[in-house]
């Protein structure tokens, strides 16, 4: 690659995104290694051992290759005074594309994962309706369904960054309460229409069947718009950790409002004012007022590779890649900086970004061997631009914790070691 004339797109080595097609580089992902050619381009290739004998038989349930890396969520330590409470985070830095495998989709539970036999599970619609109704799982499966690819992000994702620290953080540990899947289910509007929403109903209080009977209130406009009673995730029945046999799914909104193990929808004039929409999932501003019902997740992006705790092995050209998303629409563009935000270059979108879905971006970068700060900045279809951390802190102060969508900075030192930095 030396001697070629790479067109520079921004400072400190960012190259024009069109060069990606010529590069064919892999990122610094889990598998990463390119040993067959990368180490010794002059080697004489042989037919490998596995091409000389029959392989394993077809299996009933697939596993990743034992050579593909041990991809795992990062789960917190159980807390005896908070039984079943906690989260597990997706290994974003080792994933590609935009769909999170179900086994790696992040989780956040408030009282553990209930072991629900769908034969004993009921979804009730009551309150301000013409006719209260009860639905069995079996009957819900008979309704026409729709599928949507949407991200899901916990509103507490990335919150720790507002407090500083975390120099050893990874994309997973800092931002792993984010995933994206194809969600399939019955439009909530279909079921609400069947019950007959009365004109005075303005909110839908949704309750789960977990031990906390976790509840959240959804405005009627959203409930009648794009909310699903989701039954399938990436083609299979929703897993217990995601709400089996059914969950509410509110595209683009903070994860907690997509109530798992959904068992009740009550039409009300006012919000129910559950614990998890008053004491929690609210944000106190510098003037000590607190924002409530802050539903959409702001426009955001994150470089997943290279990222925290990775090492660049040697100076050269790398593919910078990451994900971008917005609760206000589709991603319009992502820019990347290698000099801490002084100059920016537009990244290539891997595919046409979907509405309220993860979008994958890439851009080639030539690392000189000197210090660098890698950042990405997303703009969505509503014109929202991802803010820098100082803007978030200036607007929201340091008491606030949820809804941090600030730009992530990955510092690269002279040795190629990458860590979370604040610029």
């Amino acid at each position: 690659m030396t001697g070629m004339n790479w067109e520079k797109a921004a400072g400190n080595g960012l190259l024009n995104r069109r060069h990606l097609l010529q590069l064919g580089l892999t990122g610094l992902g889990a598998a990463g290694a390119n040993a067959a050619f990368g180490q010794d381009a002059g080697a004489i290739l042989q037919i490998p051992e596995w091409s000389r004998m029959p392989g394993a038989n077809a299996s009933a349930y697939g596993e990743r290759s034992r050579y593909a890396g041990d991809l795992r969520r990062m789960a917190g330590t159980p807390d005896p005074i908070y039984p079943g409470g906690g989260a597990s985070r997706s290994p974003l830095q080792f994933l590609q594309g935009t769909i999170t495998p179900n086994a790696l989709h992040f989780e956040r539970h408030h009282a553990g994962i209930p072991d629900i036999d769908p034969a004993g599970h009921t979804l009730v619609i009551n309150g301000l309706v013409r006719q209260p109704l009860a639905f069995s799982y079996e009957n819900l499966l008979k309704y026409p369904m729709v599928s949507r690819i949407n991200f899901l992000e916990c509103s507490g994702n990335s919150g720790a960054l507002l407090r500083g620290g975390n120099a050893d953080g990874t994309a997973q540990s800092l931002h792993g309460l984010l995933s994206c899947a194809e969600w399939t289910g019955v439009p909530l509007s279909t079921l609400l229409d069947e019950a007959g929403v009365l004109p005075e109903a303005r909110w839908v209080a949704a309750v789960g069947a977990d031990a906390a009977s976790m509840g959240r209130s959804v405005p009627i406009e959203k409930a009648l718009d794009d909310v699903l009673v989701a039954l399938y995730q990436n083609g299979e029945p929703i897993r217990p950790g995601q709400g089996y046999p059914m969950r509410l799914f509110c595209p683009g909104w903070e994860g907690n409002i997509s109530v798992k193990w959904l068992t009740q929808l009550k039409l009300m004039r006012e919000p129910a004012q559950f614990r998890d929409e008053t004491s929690k999932y609210t944000d106190t501003m510098p003037d000590r007022s607190s924002l409530q019902f802050t539903f959409p997740m702001g426009v955001k992006s994150l470089i997943t590779s290279p990222s925290g705790r990775m090492n660049l092995p040697r100076p050269g050209i790398f593919q910078v890649t990451g994900v971008a998303w917005s609760g206000h629409g589709a991603i319009r563009r992502v820019e990347v900086s290698a000099d801490g935000g002084a100059t920016w270059a537009e990244a290539e979108m891997q595919a046409e970004p979907g509405d309220k879905a993860l979008a994958r971006f890439t851009i080639p970068w030539e690392w000189s061997g000197g210090p660098a700060v890698l950042q990405s900045r997303a703009t969505d279809s509503a014109g929202n631009v991802q803010p820098v951390r100082d803007e978030v802190l200036a607007a929201r102060g340091t008491i606030s914790f949820y809804h941090n969508n600030c730009i992530q900075s990955w510092g690269v030192d002279n040795g190629g070691a990458i860590s979370n930095v604040y610029v």
Binding site: D79, I81, Y82, P83, G85, H110, A111, V124, I125, N126, Q131, P132, L133, A134, F135, S136, N139, L140, K142, Y143, P144, L191, E194, A195, A205, V207, A211, A212, S213, M214, G215, P219, E221, K222, Q264, K266, M268, R269, E270, P271, A272, Q273, F274, R275, T278, S279, T282, T284, R288, S289, S290, L291, Q292, F293, T294, F295, P296, T398, I399
Partner: protein
């Protein structure tokens, strides 16, 4: 498939008739499947646990903080400690001041905007290791006790659906509803 082969399989004919019934226009041109089972609200008295600020969903019953002390000590003290000072950040339920200079301690007394939420949350989710084991009277009693620990009610004030929803919480006007922005 010929008509005679359908006629020879009554099960299939029944299925087709049922499907036709689901798809029949219900007052409009739209074909609809309607499989919800009609129920009455009184079938939900033990199921619908939503206790709202307007008093809807609040059961009959009552309790005082004095009664609630023993319920609290038996069920809550292990995590929330003697005076609600808690054993970790999330278990502090008393004290705090939203106007303090430092980062304010946010508790039931300093932060929660509605007293109904306390009843609602205790009934549905507490104690964390055995939720839904308290009687409605015990929930009222513990609710009264936590409010008492925060200096919001007196020790012998009777807390029921009416008195609870009449309480103005110290931070009741501290929240800004953002739902209209979406």
């Amino acid at each position: 498939m010929s008509m005679s082969s359908v006629a020879a399989r009554p099960g299939k004919v029944l299925a087709l008739i049922l499907l036709a019934a689901w798809m029949a226009p219900a007052g409009s041109q739209e074909a609809r499947i309607q499989l919800g089972t009609p129920i009455d609200e009184d079938q939900l008295s033990g199921f619908d646990l939503i206790a709202a600020p307007d008093g809807s969903g609040m059961p009959t019953g009552a309790g005082t903080a004095r009664q609630g002390r023993s319920v609290y000590e038996l069920n809550c003290l292990r995590c929330h400690a003697v005076n609600g000072e808690g054993v970790s950040g999330n278990t502090v339920i008393a004290g705090g001041d939203m106007r303090s200079e430092e980062s304010p301690l946010r508790t039931v007394g300093s932060y929660w905007p509605h007293a109904s939420t306390l009843f609602d949350f205790i009934r549905r989710a507490m104690p964390a290791d055995a939720p839904k084991t308290l009687s409605d009277d015990e929930v009222y009693q513990v609710t009264a006790y936590v409010l008492f620990l925060n200096g919001i009610v007196g020790e012998d004030e009777s807390i029921n659906s009416e008195t609870l929803t009449a309480i103005a919480m110290p931070n009741g006007d501290g929240f800004v509803d953002q739902s209209h922005l979406h």
